[in-house]
């Protein structure tokens, strides 16, 4: 661009500071939100991929009480298997400065599958004696390479030298036992030793780690990967049929699953909110830039008359919006990266150990910025083109006012009964349909955005109450080891007046369709309840199963369909008819009465007990059959802790939504007022009072904002349901929100818009009639 046009551009930007600032802020907010989520999702996806590739993360593991070398050979000889390794994992203790800490011991023979990633020290070697300890534990407890540590494993005390500080992909999400509801890295740790260093008498391997031939190491599995894993799983289950063997593929691994679902929820937020923000921003950019270009009609005409080429004029006017949008988008993305993005990343670091973890930029962001720039450039291009297509002499003539025929209302008897204000507004709307539509869309999108944000906040906050006051209102939950027999649990149930429940994770099938879900078998009682999609309590069917809404949707089930499932360690396959649907906040699956399960030859083996009586926490360490004792408060605290991050994200989004709403509405209001300024001045010259004029202007804004708000509430509810139903495949909600989010959304968008318009219309009081009625710029 030439020197003088460049100077003009900078001065015009300064002169129209409010409008360009609005465009800048709209781009800034939109990209702030997008980049905040995108940098985390992209960074985590890529780095987990990298971590899994470098460490050859297992494709599957098979666990049982013990595995022999023959078992290993059998697995290794399967055609799908590339390599298999034996491992024994058990919890023990480490003594540090006189204090004992929990440590998970992993005894290995090789280090090729789910390898240790050495951060410091010496690489694992079969001939080396020593221990490799995880970095978080080592850092927090002050352990270094070469230190001598005192350990206790399977009741045997022994000493080892620390050979290395490591991380391991199996422990990306790591809770040492069920006394923890969430990971607490550094408080406990994990360690790897060679099987030769096992301190006990004879080592019984309890897990086989498997690397499959045709499965990639990447974090996001392809359909081919999934099919290969399912086929191998089937073969291995057949290989050990009849034995109590549990087969976990990498996609069902707790860490993999957890990180996957967290990123999925961030991805959903990354799609929904930026889409809304960008739509609003684009609306603002298009309406503002169109008007700004039209405002320079005479100057464009002068340029054309003076002989400037179309290209020079196009480039000049396209530069305005592109420059401002580029600046807004880039700065927004940078701010999003360093604030909300960093915050979300820091929260994720509390839950996941990923040595490669970092924030990354994705092509998506570049594409979205390009789309925003393209849209703004095209807006200006077409606005200029529309003007430049005219002859110079036509451009230099004042633009004739918009013409529109009599509308439908004008032909009815109502017209004559309407006040002047109403008639003026109806005609104004009829003549400026695009402007009116832009106003309605602006308010609609802002309202929808607010309702989505407020609704999300309410639904998230409602989960602890729904789960622990309505569905499982008991004060305590006791977890039993898988091999605890019925009579033992029954004794506890009698002692604590509790309700017994059998809950296991297993494959549920509908024909060839298969998914890993929960099967819940309920004994009599009222401490574990079910609710339908309307939030009404429901009874489980007598002759079949109830299925959670999420599973119904994922497996495309319908009432009356037959589902089948197996219980690990039991040969028999059970078939059941789907009778009803329930809503569950998590642990999606099927549920049935004990009586029905026994009728289809199932053996009721409860592993959970719900009770209102206080259960001592020490049972976990004192009683072999008990693996966990959780008080309701602990669960609620953990849930609130985890949802605190989401809440914070939603607060960020809400704050930005409100700010964006103010910017958009103020901008649209100002633009609309500027277009009416001549008419307002004319009314004033004719003797209309400021009050009358303000009422005319406010009446129109009330109509536009009212329509926009109503449509926004309807749209917002739909977006809310879409967002929450896609946020995480294992999480579900009852999509009923109170009046509060609606009122807040109306308060903010409608009231805000009315207030903004009232402030703008107050300018009628001080309007300079002479200046406003001048025919030239």
């Amino acid at each position: 661009m030439s020197k003088n046009l460049g100077i003009k551009l900078i001065r015009d930007l300064k002169e129209n500071m409010v409008q360009f600032l609005a465009i800048f802020l709209m781009c800034f907010f939109a990209m702030f939100i997008m980049e905040s989520f995108d940098c985390v999702v992209t960074g985590m996806n890529n780095t987990v991929d990298e971590y899994f590739t470098v460490t050859n993360f297992m494709d599957m593991n098979v666990s049982a009480a013990s595995f022999s070398r023959e078992d290993l050979s059998l697995v290794q000889n399967l055609p799908a298997v590339k390599k298999a390794e034996l491992r024994y994992s058990t919890n023990g203790k480490i003594r540090i400065r006189g204090e004992e800490r929990k440590l998970e011991f992993n005894f290995i023979e090789e280090n090729d599958i789910s390898k240790m990633l050495l951060l410091k020290g010496i690489q694992y070697d079969k001939d080396l004696h020593g221990i490799w300890i995880d970095r978080y534990f080592a850092a927090k407890q002050g352990i270094g390479v070469g230190d001598n540590v005192s350990l206790t494993c399977d009741g045997v005390a022994f000493d080892e030298v620390v050979m290395g500080i490591i991380e391991n992909p199996d422990h990306i999400y790591f809770k040492i036992d069920n006394t923890y509801t969430e990971p607490n890295f550094g408080e406990y740790g994990y360690a790897f030793l060679d099987s030769g260093d096992y301190p006990g008498e004879s080592l019984q391997f309890d897990t086989i780690y498997i690397d499959l031939k045709n499965v990639t190491n990447q974090f996001h599995l392809t359909d081919i990967d999934k099919n290969e894993i399912e086929a191998a799983k089937f073969e291995i289950q057949n290989l050990f049929a009849g034995s109590n063997v549990s087969c976990v593929s990498k996609k069902d691994d707790e860490g993999h699953d957890s990180i996957h679902s967290d990123l999925e929820s961030d991805e959903t937020l990354e799609i929904v909110f930026p889409c809304l923000f960008i739509s609003i921003a684009l609306l603002g950019i298009v309406s503002t830039m169109t008007r700004l270009v039209l405002k320079q009609r005479t100057i464009i005409g002068t340029f054309k008359a003076l002989g400037f080429s179309r290209e020079v004029v196009f480039i000049h006017y396209i530069s305005y919006s592109v420059l401002v949008c580029l600046l807004g988008c880039v700065l927004g993305a940078i701010a999003g990266w360093y604030t909300l993005g960093q915050y979300i990343f820091d929260i994720l670091k509390l839950y996941y150990c990923n040595p490669f973890g970092r924030l990354e930029i994705s092509p998506r962001v570049i594409i979205v910025i390009s789309v925003v720039l393209m849209m703004s450039a095209l807006t200006n291009y077409f606005s200029c083109k529309g003007i430049l297509s005219l002859r110079a002499s036509e451009i230099l003539r004042p633009e004739p006012p918009a013409v529109a025929g009599a509308g439908f209302i004008e032909k009815t008897f109502i017209w004559k009964r309407l006040s002047f204000a109403s008639r003026w507004n109806i005609r104004d709307i009829n003549r400026n349909r695009v402007r009116t539509l832009a106003g309605i869309i602006g308010v609609t999108l802002c309202t929808a955005l607010m309702l989505t944000a407020f609704g999300m906040d309410e639904l998230n906050k409602g989960v602890p109450n729904w789960q622990y006051s309505r569905l499982t209102p008991s004060n305590y939950e006791i977890g039993f080891t898988p091999d605890t027999n019925y009579s033992t649990v029954y004794e506890y149930a009698r002692m604590y007046k509790g309700q017994m429940v059998q809950k296991i994770q297993t494959d549920i099938n509908k024909g060839d369709e298969r998914g890993l879900y929960y099967v819940t078998v309920m004994d009599e009682g009222n401490l574990y309840n079910f609710q339908d999609s309307e939030g009404q309590f429901m009874k489980l069917p007598d002759n079949g199963v109830a299925v959670s809404a999420k599973v119904m949707e994922e497996m495309e089930l319908r009432i009356g369909d037959i589902v089948s499932f197996k219980i690990p360690g039991v040969k028999e396959k059970y078939n059941a008819k789907v009778y009803s649907v329930f809503k569950a906040p998590d642990e999606q699956g099927i549920a049935m009465k004990r009586s029905f399960f026994e009728r289809i030859n199932g053996e009721f083996k409860p592993n959970l007990l719900f009770t209102n009586m206080s259960v001592p926490k020490r049972y976990v360490t004192e009683r072999e059959e008990i693996i966990s004792v959780f008080a309701k408060e602990e669960y609620i605290r953990a849930l609130k802790l985890k949802s605190a991050a989401t809440e914070q994200e939603v607060y960020y989004v809400m704050t930005i939504a409100v700010m964006l709403g103010i910017v958009v509405m103020y901008n649209l209001g100002i633009l609309s007022y500027v277009e009416k300024i001549r008419e307002v001045a004319t009314l004033k010259v004719l003797g209309f009072s400021t009050g009358n004029i303000r009422w005319i202007l406010n009446q129109q804004s009330i109509i536009i904002d009212g329509i926009g708000t109503i449509i926004g509430l309807i749209l917002g509810k739909k977006i809310l349901v879409f967002t929450m139903s896609n946020i995480d495949y294992s999480t579900d909600f009852i999509y009923r929100i109170s009046l509060k989010p609606y009122i807040l959304s109306i308060m903010i968008s409608f009231v805000l818009s009315i207030t903004v318009n009232a402030i703008i219309s107050s300018r009628a009081k001080t309007i300079n009639m002479v200046e406003a009625l001048k025919g030239v710029e």
Partner: protein, 231 residues
Amino acid sequence: MIKLNNVGKIYRNGQIVYEALHDVNVEIMEGELVVILGPSGSGKSTLLNVVGGLDAATGGNIYFGGEEITAFNDERLGKFRAKDVGIIFQFYNLVPSLTAYENVDLMSDLGIDIMDPMEALKLVGLADKKDNFPSQMSGGQQQRIAIARAIAKRPRLLLCDEPTGALDTFTSREVLKLLQDQSRIDGRTVVMVTHNALFAEIADKVIKVKNGTIDEIIINDNPKDAFELDW
């Protein structure tokens, strides 16, 4: 230099057809100061616009220096205006966000060789206002800047559409003098549209327009000096 043969201009707006020019035949010689005179709606501005390529004639031919400008496409017309034509508008049409100097220097952005903007400002007597924005100057000063902008590129033809329409008597006289000098001293062809019959006295040729046709062409053998005009 300029020759119009049977030039017509018809405006159509839906069903409404308006004939602004009808069968216009005029010849303008190089270095002449021509005044196009007529009442409002007579077609005088339309005539100026088609001559300057700001509008397209719907009939007939217009020749400029032997070239038929009615055969030019939009791009060629743009180049023609950029190189050969200086335009002065009734409402000056300066770029409000550029200073007096920058408004004149803007012509260099057309990619043509122009005179030093300061020289152009000196010619119109406003060198001291070079850093002023249009909003900081009077109407007369703005029009003089517009003239400086038009003459800075040394055009062969200067078109002026009611150049004093928004000015007072004294300032109008100054502007007319400037335009007259362009013709007398620099030998430029100046075509000026006005509804003020008084201006006919300073012209070499007066073209009277009425209802879209040439009513009369008067050759003025002894044009007055602009300062001699008696308002």
